[in-house]
């Protein structure tokens, strides 16, 4: 590995998460640099969402460490992680339905970044193409728009690390392109991104590097072009395809 001058923003070390006797994360280690987009791929049930859930404080880890900006943050409450600069989108977003689109973002801007100044809500809405829908309730949005609102909610907290869980699923090619460009823009601005996605084209378009997970273990780390030539990775994905 080339010696990097910058330090990793997020460092995951031998992370373990169990549900009862089931081991969902079995010693996963990786890091994300500021301004980097790391892809997290793997078959269904391999632990991708669980990984984001632990990083964002939804679950406490059963072992290993989560370091953010050098500080051990594993097991901290979600809202405190948000204040430190970690945020995420949800695979199935659950926006605040009776609130307006603007209120959804406003409340995140108000509570998500106590240190910094208020974020520009209209600009954030425009960046995810929800401008003009600010006064509609979140319940009136379609599922793609709700995903974009979830992204806007996360962005309003001014994250340094953004975990994105299957944002691309259900988007049409035009929307996919726009979201890819948007994510690259964010990374260019210095934000680190962890992108979970099944669509390999999208992963190829946005990520600098990927981690491949299988059954809670990482089986590959590197660029996607090499991953698809890795026999173990091919086996896992073909195996998964056979099953379902």
């Amino acid at each position: 590995m080339s010696p990097d001058l910058a330090k990793p923003l997020l460092q995951i070390d031998r992370l373990v998460k169990r549900f009862g006797g089931f081991v969902a994360l079995d010693g996963v280690s990786f890091h994300v640099m500021p301004g980097e987009i790391l892809g997290l791929v793997g078959p269904n049930g391999s632990g991708k969402t669980t990984c984001i859930n632990v990083i964002s404080g939804l679950y406490k880890p059963n072992g290993g460490e989560v370091r953010f900006q050098g500080r051990s943050v594993g097991g901290l409450a979600s809202h405190r992680l948000v204040h430190l600069g970690i945020n995420r989108t949800f695979q199935v977003p659950k926006p605040f339905l009776p609130l307006t689109v603007r209120e959804n973002v406003e409340v995140a801007a108000a509570y998500g970044r106590p240190a910094e100044g208020p974020s520009d809500i209209e600009a954030i809405l425009a960046s995810v193409e929800l401008d003009g829908l600010g006064n509609k309730t979140a319940a009136e949005l379609n599922s793609v728009q709700q995903k974009m609102l979830d992204l806007a909610r996360a962005l309003a907290t001014g994250p340094r690390l953004l975990c994105v869980d299957e944002l691309a699923a259900g988007l049409n090619p035009v929307e996919l392109d726009r979201v890819a460009i948007r994510l690259r823009d964010l990374a260019r601005g210095g934000m680190a991104l962890l992108v979970v996605e099944h669509l390999m084209g999208f992963i190829d378009q946005v990520t600098d590097r990927v981690i491949v997970l299988n059954a809670g273990r990482e089986i590959f780390e590197g660029v996607l072009a090499e991953a698809v030539r890795d026999p173990q990775v091919v086996e896992v994905f073909l195996g998964a395809a056979h099953v379902g």
């Binding site: 964002s56 404080g57 939804l58 949800f90 659950k94 926006p95 970044r113 996360a154 309003a156």
Partner: protein
Amino acid sequence: MLRTKALRHTLFILLPVIAVAGLLPLAYSNQLLLFNFVVFLTLAQGVNILYGFTGYLPFGYVGFFGVGAYGFSLAVMHLHLPPLAALGAAALAAVLLGLVLTPLLRLSGAYFAIANLAASQAMFQVVSNPNLTDITKGPYGISLAGVFAPNLSYGVAVAILALTLGTVIYLRNSRFGLALLAVREDSVTAAMAGIDVVRTRTLAWQLSALVAGLIGGVFAWYVSVFYPETVFSPEFSIFAIVFALFGGVATITGPILGVVVLYGIYNAIGISTPQYFQLIYGALIMGLVLFLPNGVVSLFRRWGIDVP
């Protein structure tokens, strides 16, 4: 924008309600009835603060009212505090009970409602326990003839109603209120909006406890003679809930509408057959939760009329 709205709500809802409640005794001689209206207006808004803004339905809400009444009475009887200072004891008693019961917020839905009901019954059992007669007068009830002052205590009740309405107006027009609604909708997403879910919920819980404790204290002062079953009657919880639900929670006007209409009907035809009303209102709660969870004002909203 939020501030001008809050000002509008204060001018066009809070002030008229307070003016009517404050001035009506001059024109209408049944002050006790008016006092009961003020009590239910306050309790319905207290339920509104909790259920409307957090989604917890407090079937034992009367517990806070009862300990408020007893906090007031004990402070008058044993500490010889003047009534206004004794109201501080009422508030303290309710907030302490709220603190003790905070773990109930970990329960959800029906479990919370049942546990809260049980807690209020437990408070009743403690207070009316004959072994505590020296302190609480046990089952024999309280008599505070020395501080009896119907006009003054009526005025203080109206002031507490004003504070309560002011609180609800604040919740409707503030970021804190928005945060509460966010937590009510989805606590996980709310946490990822940076909201401290536990703290936010606990604050609303304590606000609604405080409101009930204060009005319970002033109730003790106003009636001056009462039994434990008077101030721990489940009827207070049921009525406050049905009034709030009927009008519509998470609004300012909904609970007011509910009290005026349903408590009005109750007083017009129900006094002679109160047992039927408990039954009817109990059924009405179920019907409302199932079929009209946002109350009558939500019908206006459906017709495009924005009701604050």
